[in-house]
Symmetry: C2
């Protein structure tokens, strides 16, 4: 029997626009599973089965699920013989994490640590370092890093997707660290090695994750020369 799914629409039945419903429709197609969609509108909460409040809501026999992430997990668990939604994609997704780290996190950290790097590099490297970095940022290192408070706030906003993720799992890799964790952790080690700036509030889930990685492998990173954070 085909599954049934409540699917957000507007004035026209055919115009289905929910990004979450699209995740689930693509996921069902990925697995080759048929689904019958039922158009549903914002204010029709009472029409959803089993007290669900949001779409997609999927009905598969006696099972009713009202969250796209949980639906994906359910489909991979119940239909493991069909192509896995979370199949061997770890290297590809780690590549995205690399792009995010280097194009978003590193630039935000540079605002905080680049002057500290200058102060720590070898005497013979200083002229090269200042000239190359000032050309890149278009001002003096001192001016670029002047407003620490604003730069910390901007950094903390930048890493918000990391924070959300680490609220529900211990590592980016899930239950255990993977290379994706080390990609992002490298950025925190960069800062820690060179700068006394406090990047995170003590109760930030990112701080707890950082502590776990500082302690990993007999404290490989935590024992390295750096500033206590």
């Amino acid at each position: 029997m085909a599954m049934t799914m409540y699917d957000l629409t507007g004035a026209e039945d055919a115009r289905r626009f929910s990004p979450y419903c699209w995740r689930t429709k693509m996921a069902l197609a990925h697995k080759g599973l048929a689904v019958e969609t039922i158009p549903w509108r914002f204010t029709e909460t009472d029409r959803l089965p089993a007290g669900k409040k949001t779409v997609p809501t999927l009905i598969d026999g006696d099972t009713v699920i009202g969250d796209s992430w949980e639906i994906a997990d359910y489909l991979d668990r119940m239909y493991p013989g069909k192509p896995l939604l979370h199949g061997r994609s770890e290297r590809g997704l780690a590549k995205f994490l690399t792009a995010w780290t280097e194009s978003v996190v590193h630039p935000a950290l540079t605002r905080l640590v680049v002057l500290d790097i200058y102060k720590h590099v070898a005497e013979k490297d200083r002229a090269y370092f200042r000239a190359s970095r000032e050309a890149r940022v278009g001002t003096t290192l001192e001016a670029f890093t002047a407003d620490t408070e604003a730069n910390v706030a901007a950094f903390q906003k930048t890493v918000h997707p990391l924070r959300i993720t680490l609220r529900s799992q211990d590592y980016l890799g899930g239950d255990a660290p993977s290379y994706g964790d080390y990609i992002v952790f490298g950025a925190f080690m960069w800062a820690r090695s060179i700068s006394p700036v406090q990047l995170l509030a003590a109760d930030d889930p990112i701080a707890a994750w950082r502590s776990r990685l500082l302690a990993a492998f007999d404290g490989l990173a935590g024992k390295a020369a750096g500033y206590p954070v």
Copy 2:
């Protein structure tokens, strides 16, 4: 024989601060492989073996690799019996992609499409939709979406990590789509279903990826009601 790795440092040998070198040191520890690190400074390019120009540079017997991503691939390929760096982390990393999509991409798109959604929702949903969304954004839907050109530019900047990723692989999952692809693609379907705004330049690698997913599963998404993009 232990591997050797050139590792960036500053005035003090012990202070190792390169985020890329930290990725590789954590990766080697993850696999339980011993490494001897050689301190290296910015201007010592001539000291690196095999014409390499950047650190980490790893030497393993006759092999010399000068890029942290390639080193991770090499380690998983050459030492598959040791814990994999890209081991079963796909679900965890997809969770990060979810957090990024919902906290970064969706808000940037909302600026572009929320008034169009209002225009397309059923008559009975309009009052609810306007009131709830205007409370969320703190102004009228018209004012919130007024500057399309600036909002498109901001959106295109927001998705830059996606663009970088898709320059080197066809899907976020790598060679084939995974649930991570559908998470992000859902955002593009949201916009396409409801709004005529052109989000991407024709030569953007993201546009090519979107076209591949619009065509997938016999055009499931591409044939759905929406605006041509």
